[in-house]
Structure formats: structure tokens, C-alpha cells
Subunit: 250 residues, 2 copies
DNA sequence: GACGAAATCAACACAAAACAACATTTTTTG
DNA sequence: CAAAAAATGTTGTTTTGTGTTGATTTCGTC
């Protein structure tokens, strides 16, 4: 059991088969190390090795949400810890869906007596387990890849409430277009949550600040008052204008 | 149990793996101290240690429920496997709360195109992750220890649907009083799910069939038609009368 | 069946991590 | 307030893991 074995299994479960060279490149170690790590895994029957390729024996489909949770984990965990610092025991929160918010929910397990409204079944399930929390699941029909609801009942539940803080995630940031998410309904939920909250936190790790042109994404509406942006690294200079007026924690 | 152990577990649950150096840096103590704190945690099976890394044993995606599902794990998993055999791809299901149903939900991850209605946020979250499933979360306000909903919206959602199979869990079985659960609201949800289902499965591992007098528990209503009882071991003779007319799989 | 390219394996040198023993500090307790 | 106990840091040693080099095997092609 090496420290790389989990990464290797993860990567293989995703792509089915990979070469030793691809893996050594991915993990930044030599091919020899990959072979040494792979041998015991092969002997344990967890993966299959042929000349030129390593094949996963596991069921090849890992759910997309879990995949996203595993991707860029360190950065998201860092953001989640910074968010945690801003939340006190007893606060009321609105939390949207998105993998970063999944980490935030985990980190919030150390807080007590939280009141939470969320449209993500994962966030709801995570926080409801904590005795003393009050959790409201907004929505009925769940989207299949991440267990989030965007139906009318979701909006109705959110709009009935009033919270201290909304914690929202973004899929990408664009210097000119602002903060973007993949679907219109996600932007609508974000807006609804922001409206009922006294303050809004935007959680975005540094990987969201790449400057590739965003295609087919939806911009979040302007927030009022200006939100607090939480990142795990300093922002590129190109975003200075975008975050003018916002509090930035990085 | 050192004062650092909680911090260490917390940090690891979030990140998955960390090195000793990272932890000593995070907590501001020497690497040797980290090792000393980690050793008992490792022996208790809470962490895994390999050369160069410490790994959290609790799969962070499913950690919270797993701790409460740890009790009688093997038996519940065995029941879940038997339930799985009775469910085909494409079926529609109503699943109630309860730790046995948590295992059933995990087992059902291998099925495809399921339509599921449940009042457990954990079950909803687990099954919604599977692409191709349609999942409905019944209810809004979640109970704090298990993330299950019993409000009016929960009943309304369930009653609007029609499913092939209801999968219900029981807390205890009593030769005379029948199948029991802890709260009236749990019995009500069970009844509502049974009504909308063409057949009803009762999942109960052998530990539910102890003959201690049940105090302050609520009996489930009679099911029509007779349910199928799924257990992981043959039933004690005292229950022969109770299960007369039922299909029993053990 | 021989050839070349790519992949694998084996052995060595080196670096990083883990460990053990001792010194030091902090906390507890009478 | 002092002695004892516990916890932490430091140092040096041992163990483990890693990269490099070069030999060997496998695979596709002619």
C-alpha cells in the first residue's frame, strides 16, 4: 500500500486503461515507481496488467459528482477551511450544490446548532447527521448526477426562509463576464439564496480562474450587497476589476 | 486521545491523505509528535498509515452515515445483497429511512434507470449520484440524527407516486406485536409507501429478532398484500405464526 | 525467423521518512 | 512550592522508497 496506490486506482477507474508512462506523468514520478506500486495491486487482484497497459478491474463508472469531489481536492479543502473560519456556531446558512460546497459541508461538521437550507441532497445528508443542526432540503426532484434539486418546490422552500449567510459555488470565473455556472437553473438558485441572505460568500478555488473562453455558461446575477470571495490562492491580476468592491480572502 | 487527534482526523477527512510534515506544519508541532498521536489512531483503525502518507479510512464521501451504520455491518450488508437480487434495472422503488436501507441504497448502485422516492436524504443522495436514475426526495425538514423527513410535504410527495416495490426497514420484530419501529411517524411513512407499491419488502437482519420485550415502540400496520421478509439468517421458531402468509427469504 | 522499438526488469546510489533514545519543557499533584 | 509525571522537541540511526542506468523481454513488422 503506497501513497500513490489510491491515486492510481482512482485514475484507472476513470479511464479504464492507462499506460505506465501516462501514470508516471500524471503523478510526477518515474515509470519504475509506477511499476513498483502497481505490482502489489495487481497481485491483490485490484487491477490487471498487460504489456503496455494497466487496466482497472473495478467497475469503471464512478459517478461524476464523486469524480469532481476527488478532483483538485487539496484546493477545495483549502477553500472549505477558509469558509469555515467565517461561520460561527448557531448561524443559519443557505448552501447551493457544487463540489466545493460538498467540502464546505464536511468542514462545517465541527460547527453546532446550524440552520441550513440547501438544494443538494449530499449537503443535506452530510449536515443533517450532526445532532443539533436543523436542515431543510429544498426541492423534490433530484438531478441525476449530483443529487441537486431545481424544481419549483426548491425555490418555494428557499424563499420562505431568511438566513445569515449564503454559501455559493461557481464553475468558472471570467474577467469580463463575471462568475459563471453551467446551467440557468443553478444561477436562479444562487440568486434566490443570495436574496434571503444577509451576506453572500462565493467559494472558488484557483482552478476556476483559468482564462479559457467560457462557452455556453451562465453568469450569476450581480449580488447586493457585494459578496465575499473565498479562494485558496491570490487571484490573477486580470480579475482585479471584477472583484472591485468585494471582500477577497485568498 | 490527544488534544490533536481530533484536528488530525478532521484535516484528513477533508483532504483524504496528508504527509506527516504537512500535519506537523498545520498544527505547529514536531513531526515526531504527529507520529505519536497518529499511532493509536491507526491502531484503532481510524486512519491508515503508509510510508510517506497518512490516509483517512473513512471514505470522505460517505463518512457520516457509515459511522452510524457500522453497527452489525455484515448482517445488514447481507440483507442488502438479498434485496438487490429482487430488484431489476428500470424498476421504481419507495425506500424508507433506517440504516439497513442505507446499505440497500449502496447495493442498488449497480442497478440502472431506477425511479426512487425516499424520505431519507442519505438514500436520495446515494442513488441520485448514479447517472440514469430518477430520484425524488420526499419532505423538506430533516430530522437531525439521520437526515430523514417526516413532514407533510413528505407524505404529499409519496402519495402522488406509484411504484413497483416498497423497501421498508424495521427496528425490531416481536412474535406477538409484529414489526416495530421507534416512532409513529416512521410507521406512517412505511404505511404510505406500502400503499403506493405493488409489493412490499421488509428488510430486517437477524439481530432484530431478539425476544426482549419491546418498550415504547410502534407496530407497523398490516400490509396488503402480504409483504416479503428478507433476513440474513433463518428465523427463530417463535416467529412462525407472525410470518404466516408472507414470503420469507433468509 | 530476424530486426527495431517500446516496455519491463534488475541493481545500485541517493534521498526521504520513520524510528529510538535522550534532553527539555510543560503540566499535574501532593 | 517542589517533586513527579506527562508531553514535546532534538539528535542520530535505521529503514523504506525513488530515480538512474543498463540489461532483458515483448511485440509488431518485414
Amino acid at each position: 500500500m503506497s501513497k500513490y496506490s489510491q491515486d492510481i486506482e482512482q485514475a484507472l477507474a476513470l479511464r479504464g486503461t492507462m499506460t505506465v508512462a501516462e501514470l508516471s506523468d500524471l503523478l510526477g514520478v518515474s515509470d519504475q515507481t509506477i511499476r513498483r506500486v502497481v505490482r502489489p495491486l495487481q497481485e491483490a487482484g485490484r487491477l490487471e496488467k498487460v504489456h503496455g497497459a494497466i487496466r482497472s478491474m473495478q467497475n469503471p463508472v464512478t459517478a461524476p459528482f464523486q469524480t469532481r469531489m476527488a478532483h483538485n481536492r487539496a484546493a477545495k479543502a483549502a477553500v472549505a477551511e477558509r469558509v469555515l473560519d467565517l461561520i460561527a456556531d448557531g448561524e443559519s446558512l443557505a448552501i447551493d450544490t457544487g463540489s466545493t460546497c460538498g467540502f464546505v459541508a464536511q468542514a462545517l461538521a465541527v460547527r453546532r446548532r446550524l440552520t441550513v437550507v440547501t438544494n443538494s441532497a449530499y449537503v443535506a445528508s452530510t449536515l443533517a447527521m450532526q445532532p443539533g443542526n436543523r436542515v431543510f432540503m429544498a426541492g423534490t426532484q433530484l438531478r441525476d448526477h449530483d443529487g441537486a434539486a431545481f424544481d419549483r418546490a426548491a425555490f418555494a422552500t428557499i424563499e420562505r426562509m431568511q438566513v445569515d449567510t449564503a454559501i455559493l459555488s461557481v464553475s468558472q470565473a471570467h474577467p469580463a463576464r463575471g462568475f459563471l455556472v453551467g446551467e440557468t437553473c443553478e444561477a436562479d438558485i444562487a440568486a434566490a439564496m443570495s436574496v434571503i441572505a444577509a451576506r453572500t460568500l462565493l467559494a472558488a478555488d484557483h482552478s476556476k480562474f483559468i482564462e479559457t473562453p467560457a462557452r455556453g455558461m451562465v453568469a450569476l446575477a450581480q449580488f447586493e450587497p457585494a459578496p465575499t470571495l473565498i479562494c485558496d490562492a491570490p487571484l490573477p491580476a486580470a480579475y482585479a476589476a471584477l472583484v472591485r468592491g468585494m471582500t477577497v480572502i485568498a
